[in-house]
Each structure stands twice: as C-alpha cells, then as structure tokens.
C-alpha cells in the first residue's frame, strides 16, 4: 500500500464510521468519489514483482564509509533518536494512523464545515473539549504504535535486528520517541480546527482563559500517552487485537470515571482522559487543569517505563518509574482536591448573585439582556436578534431581564461551592434565564423565550420535562407571532413550521422543537395554531400589533381561544383544534 492509498484508506474508514454514526447522507455521498480514487490508486499500485535486474560491481566503491565502530554514533540516545525519526515517519504513513487522521478530518468537516452554526459557546469552553477531539486520533495511535513495535516479529526480521548492537530497550525508546509525530499531527489538527472554526463559526465568542493552555497541553500529552501505551502493549503482548481491546477498555474506563456521581458533582472527573464539561459556562468552574495535565503526563511516564521494563531493569529506570508514580499520586490528589476557597467563593457568588458580575444591554427600554463578561461579545448578537421582539411587546408586559444564570442543578457544583451559595437561586420573577449558548442555535431560543414569557407561557419544561400544551390558546399564537418579528417572511414561516410537517402524530405536528432525544420543548401548540400563526404572518403587521395592543390582557388569558384572536384580526377560525397529550421530553 503506498502513501496515497494509506491516506485514502484512513479517510474512507473515518468517513464510513462517521456517516454511520451521524447518518449524514452528505458524508455518504462524499465517500463515493474518495472510494473511486482509492480504487484507482490501488489498481495502479498493484503490480507483479519486478524482473531481476543485472548485478554488476564494476565501478562500485568497495571501501565502506566507515568501518565497524566510529560511525558518528553518539551512543544509545543517538540511536534512539535516529530510530525515533524513522519510526515517526513510518507511524505517520501507517494505515491505522491514517484512520486517526481521517477521524480528525471528520471532526473538522462535521463541526467546522458542515455544521459550524452549532458552535455558539465561548472559545474557552470549546477549547476545554480538546482532549475529546483528539481521542479518536489517540486511539488509532495506540493501534499504530503496537503494530510498529510488533512489526519485526510479524515480518520475521527480529533475527537480523536482534544481532545488531542496539539493545532492545533502546529500540523501545526509539518507538517511544516516535510519539513526536502524533504530537505534531494533533497540534496541527487542533490548530486547523480552530482556524476553520474562526472562519466558519461566528457564534464562537469570548477569549481564552489560562486554563485553556492546560487543556491543550493535556490533549497533546494524550498523544504521547497513546503512543506509549501502544509500545508498552506491543513489548509485553504481541497479539494483534490487544491494542483494540485496550482502546475500548480505556474508553470504558474514562467514561466510567466521568460518570461517577451520576448527574451530581464528580470529584474524580479530572482523572479521566477526557473530563466531561459539567459547568454551563467556563465562568462557573475552576478546573485543576495543571493537575490533570500532570496526571496524564505521569500516566504516560508510567506506561513508557513499563514498555522499557520489558528488556531493561536498572536503577535509573526504577527511579524514573518511581518518579512517575509519585507524580501520578501528587497530580491525582491535586486533580481531585477541593478548589481554592477564593475560587469557590467567587463561583458561589457568580451563581448566587449573577447580577453583580454581568454586563447588560438594554433593548428598547423594556428588555435588558445580561451576560457574564466572558460572553460579552455574544451580547450584541443576542441584542440584535431579540430587539425586534422586544420592540413589538406591548407596554403592559413591563420590564423584563434576560439573564445568564447557572441554570443547572446545584448538585453538579462541587461541595465547596455549594456550601457558599446564597439560596434560593431561582427567585427571579421578572427574569428569563438565558439558555446556554450552545443551545441557542439560530437564536430561536431567546426570541421565543421572550415572547412566551411576555404572554405568561413557561420558557422551560417543568421538573418532569413535561411541556405546557397551548393548543387552541390565543396566547400561544401571540407568542409565536411576536417571536418572529423582524425576520424575513420565509424565515418567519420556517420558524413556525414543525420540523416534520408530514408527521401524522398530533404531538409531532405541534412541537416546533422536534421530537426525540435531547428535545425538551417548553410549549407545544397544535397544527391548527401553527397554521393560524402563519396566516397572521401574512397580515399587515400594524393591524395585528394594534389588535394585540388593544386587548393584551385578553389575549394572554389562557381561556381566550385562538379563534377569538383570528376573528379580531379578520381571519377565519382555524379550529377544531387537536387535543394534544403532553409527552415528556427526553434529556440527553
């Protein structure tokens, strides 16, 4: 297999897996040309053995460049370095590593090319996920490194290599040195991903934090750890399936560590190779990223020592191993300890009194939007989008604040923060909690939340994740009409049409947020209500606004029917209305 074939294979496997996971037809379509290209390359590269060539020693220099010793060698370290360079190149062109590169390319493709609009969080939050992004690459590094270490046994070259003066432990170190390649590739991948997002994802906002340096370092260290794990496994267990089993095992272990504590606070999360992000914003966390990076470094060191131990057991190695174990203990304790009291107090205050720490923007004197400074860049965009809705609200609505709040269960906060909270947190009657940025998507959330709040509809499902049914209620139609103010007509119609208009299920016909996992609507309408809204959209905005202004209290009364509203604006009735049975949403 030549290099182009290797890369093509990697991309194909990654795309097939990615397409299978995401079910994205565009990915499947992309596979076809890549597959054809790979086939052409394969057919071109396959050939019969070359014919014998002549063997002439005429004119060939007979003297060696250097005879026996004095070959410009600098001992075992120089040999390990030279091996590391060669093995690094071989690792780079390994089909297994190519699959890892393919996975990385798939991540860029998915998150920065095909669906860049999904990224609306702060950069600081996205960078926290660096360890997650490099995991597919690291998994393939484990396999590729194992294959590299066991290559001589597989191919029967061990007898030639074994009688060379380079000791097996030096060869092991050479394989470990080859980890520079995945390190560089991961760095290039993360940089490329960031650059692509910079261009393609305008929703990303805010600056980076000092912790982000630790996040990236931790992610890059994972690449070294993956290589070390592959080498260690190869040195001790040659069976080819072992690295795959190990990768799956580590994945389960990491997931298990991340899942400790269920939905509550998990003090061990930083011991995972991919710590989960529990806080809705980086401002609510003080993560021990340095301890986590040291933990990963220590584990890498331990695994590397285990690899070398196969053929060498001396004091130096034991000292290095002991140092790595000691570092792991210290880092492990650091990663699971309570955060400093000052940080805990700061976070508790952010959760308890967000208004004391936020930047706010006023929308037409009636609506105020407040976010933490890290998200200030996003504020302008929220304001720009929600202003037409705010402008359309009748004066009776009064002053409303849309505020970024912690918004999750306090059980997810560490105990040292929980102890310092000023309770209760949700006693904010004239405020709408700003949804988490990564859920904002096309800002539908803010627009609709504001409109729903104005008419007395909830902006979130109840504790049982049950939506409120507003079928046949005038206030539901009013809220939707308000939520699409200032948009182009096509966009207005799109936002008032269910994702699957052909559905026969009444609930599915009534839920603008879709139905399925991670879909937790706060309100559902009925197909007739949605049709009524679309009919009102086609009316003169002034006419509808005047009708709403004149009878606002009536329209927000839950007992006022949609047909009454339609009659007031001169439209025929839309009923009878479907009877919608509320269905609980499914959390992620």
């Amino acid at each position: 297999m030549n290099r182009a074939q290797t890369l093509a294979l990697g991309l194909i496997v990654a795309l097939v897996v990615g397409a299978s996971i995401t079910g994205s037809p565009s990915l499947v379509l992309m596979i076809v040309p890549v597959l054809l290209l790979a086939l052409i390359w394969t057919l071109r590269g396959s050939g019969r053995p070359m014919p014998e060539t002549g063997w002439s020693t005429v004119g060939v220099a007979e003297d060696p460049v250097v005879r026996n010793g004095s070959r410009g060698n600098g001992g075992a370290l120089a040999t390990a370095g030279a091996l590391g360079r060669v093995e690094g190149g071989l690792l780079f062109w390994s089909p297994w590593f190519a699959i890892g590169i393919g996975f990385s390319a798939l991540i860029v493709l998915m998150f920065a090319v095909l669906f860049p609009g999904e990224n609306n969080q702060a950069w600081a939050e996205l960078v926290q996920m660096s360890p997650w992004f490099v995991h597919p690459l690291v998994g393939m590094v484990v396999v590729a490194s194992h294959r590299a270490v066991t290559r001589s046994v597989r191919d029967g070259t061990e007898e030639v290599f074994g009688v060379c003066p380079t000791r097996p432990d030096t060869r092991t170190i050479g394989h470990l040195v080859a980890a520079w390649v995945p390190l560089v590739v991961a760095a290039v991948f993360l940089a490329t991903f960031a650059a692509a997002l910079l261009v393609r994802a305008p929703g990303l906002h805010g600056g980076l934090t000092a912790d982000n340096v630790g996040d990236v370092v931790g992610a890059l260290l994972l690449c070294l750890g993956g290589a070390a794990l592959g080498v260690a496994l190869g040195r001790w267990i040659r069976f080819g399936l072992v690295p795959i089993v190990a990768v799956v095992g580590v994945a389960f272990l990491s997931t298990g560590i991340s899942g400790i504590g269920g939905h509550g606070w998990n003090p061990f999360v930083q011991l995972s190779t991919a710590p989960t992000i529990e806080a809705p914003s980086p401002v609510f966390a003080d993560r021990p990223v340095t301890a986590h990076a040291l933990w990963i470094a220590a584990l890498t060191g331990i695994v590397a020592v285990v690899a070398v131990l196969r053929h060498r057991r001396d004091r130096l190695l034991l000292m290095v191993g002991g140092g790595a174990v000691a570092l792991a203990l210290v880092a492990g304790i650091g990663a699971t300890s309570e955060m400093p009291a000052a940080s805990a107090a700061r976070i508790a205050d952010l959760v308890s009194r967000p208004e004391a720490h936020q930047d706010c923007a006023d929308l037409t004197g009636r609506v105020e939007v407040c976010v933490f400074p890290l998200h200030a860049e996003y504020l302008d965009r929220v304001v720009a989008d929600a202003s037409p809705v705010a402008a359309a609200l009748p004066a009776e609505v009064g002053r409303v604040t849309i505020r970024q709040v912690y918004g999750r269960s306090t059980e997810q906060l560490p105990p040292e923060v929980r102890r310092r909270l000023i309770l209760p947190l949700d006693d904010r009657p004239r405020e709408i909690p700003l949804k988490e940025f990564d859920e904002l998507g096309t800002f539908t959330g803010v627009r609709r939340d504001l409109a729903q709040f104005a008419v007395g509809l909830p902006t979130a499902p109840d504790d049982a994740l049950m939506p409120m049914v507003a079928a046949g209620q005038a206030r539901g139609v009013v809220a939707l009409w308000l939520s699409v103010r200032g948009l182009e007509r096509a966009d207005q119609l799109r936002r008032t049409t269910v994702p699957n208009p052909d559905a026969t299920d009444p609930f599915e016909q009534a839920s603008l947020d879709g139905v399925g996992q991670c879909s937790v609507p706060s309100v559902v309408w009925s197909a007739q209500d949605l049709a009524a809204v679309r009919a009102m959209i086609d009316l003169d905005e002034e006419v509808v606004a005047a009708a709403l202004e004149s009878g606002w209290e009536r329209w927000i009364d839950p007992t006022t029917g949609t047909d009454e509203l339609l009659e007031a604006v001169g439209l025929p009735p839309a009923g009878p209305y479907d009877i919608i049975q509320p269905r609980p949403g499914e959390g992620c």
Binding site: M1, N2, G47, P49, M50, P51, E52, T53, G54, W55, S56, T57, V60, A61, E62, D63, P64, V65, V66, R67, N68, G69, R71, G72, N73, G74, A78, T79, G81, A82, L83, V86, R151, S152, D155, G156, T157, E158, E159, V160, F161, G162, V163, C164, P165, T166, R167, R171
Partner: protein, 289 residues
C-alpha cells in the same frame, strides 16, 4: 591464519534433539564454508556464532570476546554482519529504508554517513537502480541481495552468512563470489551452503557438520582429497558403489570402493563431501541430475 572464532565443546539441544553436539572448531580470516545435510546443525551453529542464540554449554570466543556476557555480545555485534537462512522483510519498506533501518540498529547515528553507506552496500549488490522500490515488489533474488546488503554494512570483521546464494541465479552466484572476494577480503566469513562448488570457489577452509558434530575440518582440497581413489566413471551403474549418478555425458559417476581396473577420476569437493555424508545423501543424489 589469525584465529577469530573459537568453539570448544559447544552443545545446543532443542528438547531431546541435539542440534550441536560438543563441537570444537576454530577459524579465522578468510572464508570458512559450512557443509552438511539438512538438520546437521549448521543453522544452529551459525546462529550461536552470530549471537542470535546461546549455547547450552561449551565455550565460545568470537573476535576476542565472550558472547555469553552482555558486553562481549555487544562488542561482537558491533563487528558482525549476519544473514539468516530466512531473513524476513518489511514488504512496505523500500530496499533503502530496510537497509537504513538495520544501519540505525548498527549504531550508524550520523544520517549522512549512514545513507552513504546504505547506498554503497546496495550498489555492491547491484540494487542501486531499485533501491527505492518497495521490497514487496522485488523478486526473490533481489530480496536475497537486499539481505546480503544489510549484512555488508560497515564491512564487518565477521560475516555469518547462512545459505547466502539460495535463490540466486547462476550469474548472481558468480557476482556474489566476486563480491565476497572483494568486499569481505579481510573479514572472517562463515558461510553455510549446500552448493559445494561455492565452497570450492570461495572457501579457504571447509567444515562438514554431520549430526551436530564436526565430521571434517580442513581445506576444500583436503575434503576433495578425502575421496581420492574412490571416484570412478563407468558406462553403467555399479551396484557396489556407495553413490552413483548419471552425468551429462551419459556415463555414471561412482563414489565408493572402486572395482579393480576402474577408470578413476580426480575427486571434487562434492565427491569428498558426499563420501563423508555417506548413505545419508544417497537417496537424494542417486537419481540422474
């Protein structure tokens, strides 16, 4: 002859099978050929000399060092070139990459020097034009030459070559002889082969190994001389001969005790070896070739 390799009472067994049984042997610079039937212990002996395998008992001294110690082994390996009987290859490596990899393991740390040397040895075996082709695409003979090239790296003081001409065509065998005569002129070469004409052409000394023991050690001419007066030509097969085969001219060459009046011919190394190997070689060699 300066003695460079010395074996005393060397023994190696694999379970109940004794591959090398108390071998005493010394050899020095020049080419020493190792002859013997399959299973005679040649490969085991070569692997022991090449430090690829440890003997069970006995003493071994190679290039003035004791390979049973780590430091001795290291010193031997620094001056050793080894071609195993069945060298493996990384099929996705080019010939250059493979020999370069071995060169790194032979402690060629300086990249420029190493690459110059790799190019040199590949040129010696006539592969300079295809050195960047994948080994998987090379023919069997070319792969054998790649294996020979790696053994020649740095012109080692000791070359252990296990059947180096296996898979080479007649012209390539001649080239190999030429190569060994020049590239390894000052080295100690231990060469195992089934080709007695290689031994006759190349070796200053020949050792015949039978059943793990040294059956003969001396000059090739002495091995041939071993059959002096015991090789004759006759128009028909003589059943009293130990070995007999029809030659190219249709007459039958015999080895054994000649009848009176037999037409004796000068013996070759092959005759000497076959006589020594005796009945063990008879089934294979009795058929016309």
């Amino acid at each position: 002859m300066t003695r460079t390799v010395s074996l005393q009472e060397l023994t190696k067994a694999f379970g109940a099978t004794v591959a090398v049984a108390g071998v005493d042997l010394e050899f020095g610079s020049g080419v020493t050929g190792l002859l013997g039937p399959n299973g005679a212990g040649k490969t085991t002996l070569m692997r022991i000399v090449a430090t690829a395998m440890a003997a069970d008992s006995g003493r071994l001294e190679v290039l003035g060092h004791d390979p049973t110690t780590a430091s001795g082994r290291l010193e031997v390996r620094r001056r050793l070139g080894y071609l195993p009987q069945e060298p493996g290859f990384h099929r996705n490596f080019s010939a250059f990459d493979f020999v370069d990899y071995v060169a790194i393991l032979k402690e060629w740390g300086d990249r420029r020097l190493r690459h110059d040397e790799v190019r040199r040895v590949l040129a010696l075996v006539g592969l300079e034009a295809v050195m960047h082709k994948k080994i998987g695409r090379l023919s069997g003979g070319m792969r054998r030459r790649v294996a020979i090239a790696q053994a020649l790296l740095g012109s080692p003081d000791l070359l252990v070559l296990d059947e180096p001409t296996a898979g080479l065509d007649p012209e390539q065998r001649l080239r190999f002889r030429e190569l060994l005569g020049t590239a390894a002129a000052d080295a100690t070469v231990l060469l195992s082969t089934h080709q007695t004409d290689d031994v006759a052409a190349l070796c200053q000394r020949v050792v015949v190994l039978l059943g793990g023991r040294v059956a003969f050690a001396g000059a090739p001419a002495d091995l041939a001389q071993h059959a002096d007066g015991r090789v004759w030509i006759a128009p028909t097969r003589d059943t009293r001969a130990e070995l007999a085969w029809v030659t190219g001219d249709g007459r039958v060459r015999h080895i054994g005790v000649p009848p009176s009046g037999a037409e004796l011919v000068p013996p070759t190394v092959e005759d000497g070896y076959l006589l020594l190997a005796g009945q063990a070689a008879k089934p294979a060699m009795a058929e016309p070739s």
